[in-house]
Amino acid sequence: MSPTEAAGLAARDPEVQGRPAAAVRRRPGPRQLTSTARRLVGAASILLFLVSWELAGRLGAVNPRTVSSPSAVARELPWLVTGGLGQDYRVTALAVAVAFVGSLVVGSFLGVASGRHAPTRWGMDPIVTLGYTTPLVAFVPIVVLFLGLGVPAKIVAGFVGGVFPVIVNVEAGARTVDPVLLRAARSFGVTGLRRVCTVLLPSTAPFVLVGARIALGRVLIGVIITEMIGGSQYGVGLLLIRLGQGFQADRLMALVLLVGLAGTTVIGIIRRLEARILRWRP
């Protein structure tokens, strides 16, 4: 939890008295210093990387035509906006979003079912293990074979990538749900889907979020690889492969940077969400 959030929490609970935890959280001092230091070190390491990259090109250690250079990438950044890539972004973003949300929803329910019901687990285990350990890339030709080239194939490939890590994590979480809570639920007549939604899923929320972070990366891989194989007319994957084949290293790097930033942003959003969803934690 960030210091500002902690302060917000404390401010909302003026009635809580004599709670040492609240008092400690309100004191900003050393914790803020550490977080500033952390950011500085992080920024310095990125800077160091960029400077070495630039110098490596200028000093002739590597060929800037193939590995580009930070200054050349920076010159191509406007192209990302003005290059008429809107449709590519939209198609890829849509496929990623649908595959990601789908793998979260389906993975959560399957994970809970597998974690709480032994026969279901016995049935699912081999498939899940196989699905999770087989390299995602190996599935892509199969998916394209089944669904042809197009948006559905990308979505399915992304979904296949994302759903297994969610299942595996949620299953682990569902198996550790406090039995006393389940007992309480039963004593108040909370059963079936209601029990899943009021006890099992909230209990496993931290695991769903871990699964979500792993899933996001795999969904991106699934979608972009399918696009690279020729999944459709538009798409970031398609752009990447064309730029590579066209030796346009500067634009390629700029686009890779964009994809990386987009992924990081979504992860950041998940982290924020996590802090919000898990704010009940002491």
Binding site: D13, V180, R183, A184, G189, T191, T198, W280, R281
Partner: protein, 292 residues
Amino acid sequence: MVHHTTESAKPVDPALRRASSPGGDDADAGRPFIVLEAATVEYPGRGAQAPTRALDAVDLEVQAGEFVSLVGPSGCGKTTLLMAVAGLLELTDGSVRIGGRQVVAPGPDRAVVFQEFALLPWRTVRRNVEFAFEGGELTRRQRRDRADEFLELVGLRDFADHYPAQLSGGMRQRVGIARALAIEPETLLMDEPFGALDAQTKVVLGEELLRLWERDRQTVLFVTHDIDEAIFLSDRIAVMSRRPASVRCLIDIDLPRPRPHDIKTAPEFNEYRQQIWNLLHDEAAEASREPN
């Protein structure tokens, strides 16, 4: 198997005997409300191990509106008995009946208060009380109003929007009690509800529980290993034997109600304490030498 004997202890001082039975002029008064007949529970053994018998042909009758405590050595099966009455545990043999009906599953006529509080940590205090209505058909508004009403009753109205982690143990169990009372059960099943609390909080919550109980006079089964607590709260105390549990002895507590907190220093209170302690001592000594 040696059959156990059930004896009712003589009241210490006849002058203290209450004029009327609990529940007052209730039509059901005098007829047993909760009836256990030869209730037996066995847990299956692991692998080649023999099954463990947790309850051994327990007979027990509780009147409507009566407050009965179950005391006994730790691990003796008191909780098992309570869970069987709650319908959370299946009997291997025998029967549990409430108001003439066989218990096969949990029902809205019974509410359980758990030792571990069993609150949902991601829900606020109010939403935790509302959890009691999750299986029912109340509207959102009705749930909220009912929850607030019962939070008021346990003195936690101002903490409705707090999370359990922000509360002390005593406050958390007040939430547990409010949640149980909120469905207005006829029977309240309490599994060492104050066992995790410090000595002072325990006493305070015991007094509050009596205050609430004297208002509605639910039938209460209260599991504890605290003898003082049992005497202070109960109309009757069932002293359990060590595992497999059976009711070794039933003791009427003829102390006037409402009971002042200093009743614990009264000579008759001390006599009950002595009597129960003597009964428990041998069982506890034996139980402590057995594997759990």
